[in-house]
Symmetry: C2
Subunit: 297 residues, 2 copies
């Protein structure tokens, strides 16, 4: 089962990298394979300074060994051996008109506790909110969810709204998407059906994101709009370093730092007490992130 | 006692801002006074786009009220009412030849537990290591410590080395300085002598930092050196958001976000797997941060 899952995840990584290279039309992914001293390793694919993408990473990893006590405690498991495999991507486009995007699918096993579960999600972080994009993005995700379970979209959409929340700012990271973790066997779907679901989530990434990137990539933008992008990226950094569980898991399991922090943008900015002008597109975006929205019916 | 301490901290804030404005010669501090809904407030002084300082903040705050359970647990106290006052500063100079610097002095009281203590410290984060600077900086701190207790410098220098450590990078944030927290009454100095010590730490800031800033501010630098500064600032962001207890305390006590995150630089950068060329000044700096040094005898 383990090797079946990781093979399938590798295939999804390949498919996404090919699709993104074709869309970018400039840069290519470089591949860094690495080994984890405690067991396992990965393949970090990074693209930089492309036509569409300023910085992006699509990581595959398959790690196992001793689970650090701090993580065992967080997961409420007693056994200290684990196996984990996953694909994780973050893309930071060059243009402020094209949203940042994140996708992750993962499988986690604690054999000693007889536990195994899948998790994953896709979410979009626009620099400038485009409500039509939000609707289209969520529609692809809902279609993917609906194929598997009538409740999934509603449930995992809410999970994303709750998870991708920058508590100290009182705003979400972006317009959300779906997020799920540790679906229990039995109460939810059997493990092999969860597997089928996360594969579909992985495959939904390109159709969910590329049409939005294509729609905006050639729009012009000003210096001031680029500056706003750097500020929005700063908020992205805040979320990832302060709240993101995947990042903390990586930092505490002696993960490969460069692969974990590949999610951070090439450039970001913090300005003291930056307040968008009421009524401006920047203001509209931030205001929208302060409440929950139903992007599709 | 409380008002005596906060008055003295305000005076130190004023003294430092005046000294920094005179040194900068361009920008002036603006003052933002704010109130904390749960009790107290502060005065955030910010300088931006100056001749010497790209972004800097010197905050005073005096807050009190209900201690959030998460903080009470971290501090191992049972009472949930607290009083805290302090001055905290971070300066991000424009030139990569001038180090980032941080200073903090604070007083914390949990009246229900009969607890009160001071804490503080000063530490330097060079973009490019200059060993003479490190020696001079530590000499000022040692002189300040030696006036109060023969053990203080050695003890608080080690505390800074341990505290300002970016665990996931295996390197310190900078060349350290001194750091101390929760000196216990009796075992250490009586509270009024601790007070006298933190005042001296506050007053040591300008003589410790300004000669270093003056020495380097007019040195020329290249685009590549500026880029290295942005990368080093990225590491600074990593430390503050992932490890810094003051930042976490602020985020969890509903502190004023803009004042807490004023420590973050105007611009920062993350590049995938950036590795300085062996033998280069960038490499020399990072290598030095991987081990502990005795900068003064």
């Amino acid at each position: 089962m383990r090797s079946l899952i990781s093979e399938s995840f590798r295939a999804i990584q390949n498919e996404i990298c090919s699709g993104l290279e074709a869309a970018d039309g400039g840069a290519k992914f470089t591949s860094d394979t690495w080994e984890r001293p405690g067991g396992g390793g990965g393949d970090s694919r990074v693209i930089q300074n492309g036509n569409l993408l300023e910085k992006g990473g699509v990581n595959f990893s398959e790690v196992f060994g001793e689970l650090p006590p701090i993580v065992a405690k967080e997961f409420a498991v007693t056994s200290t051996s684990f196996f984990a495999t996953g694909v994780s991507l973050v893309l930071h486009p060059y243009s402020p008109k094209v949203p940042i995007v994140h996708m992750n699918i993962r499988y986690f096993e604690v054999p000693g506790d007889g536990l195994a579960w899948f998790g994953g999600g896709i979410d979009l972080t626009p620099i400038y909110l485009d409500r039509e994009d939000a609707k289209n993005f969520h529609t692809v995700l809902k279609t993917t969810c609906d194929k598997h379970h009538a409740d999934y979209y509603q449930r995992f959409k809410k999970w994303a709204d709750d998870y991708f929340f920058i508590k100290h700012r009182g705003e979400t990271r972006g317009i959300g998407g779906i997020f799920f973790d540790r679906l229990s066997d039995g109460k939810d779907l059997p493990l092999n059906e969860q597997f089928s679901f996360v594969r579909d989530v992985g495959k939904a990434f390109l159709p969910a994101y590329l049409p939005i990137a294509e729609k905006h990539r050639n729009e012009s933008f000003s210096e001031q709009e680029k500056q706003w992008q750097l500020i929005r990226r700063g908020r992205y950094v805040e979320f990832n370093l302060v709240y993101d569980r995947g990042t903390h898991f990586g930092l505490h399991t002696s993960g490969r730092i460069e692969s974990i922090l590949m999610s951070l943008p090439q450039f970001a900015s913090w300005q003291y007490n930056h307040q968008p002008t009421p009524g401006s597109p920047e203001w509209d975006t931030i205001e929208a992130l302060k409440t929950t929205h139903h992007w599709v019916d």
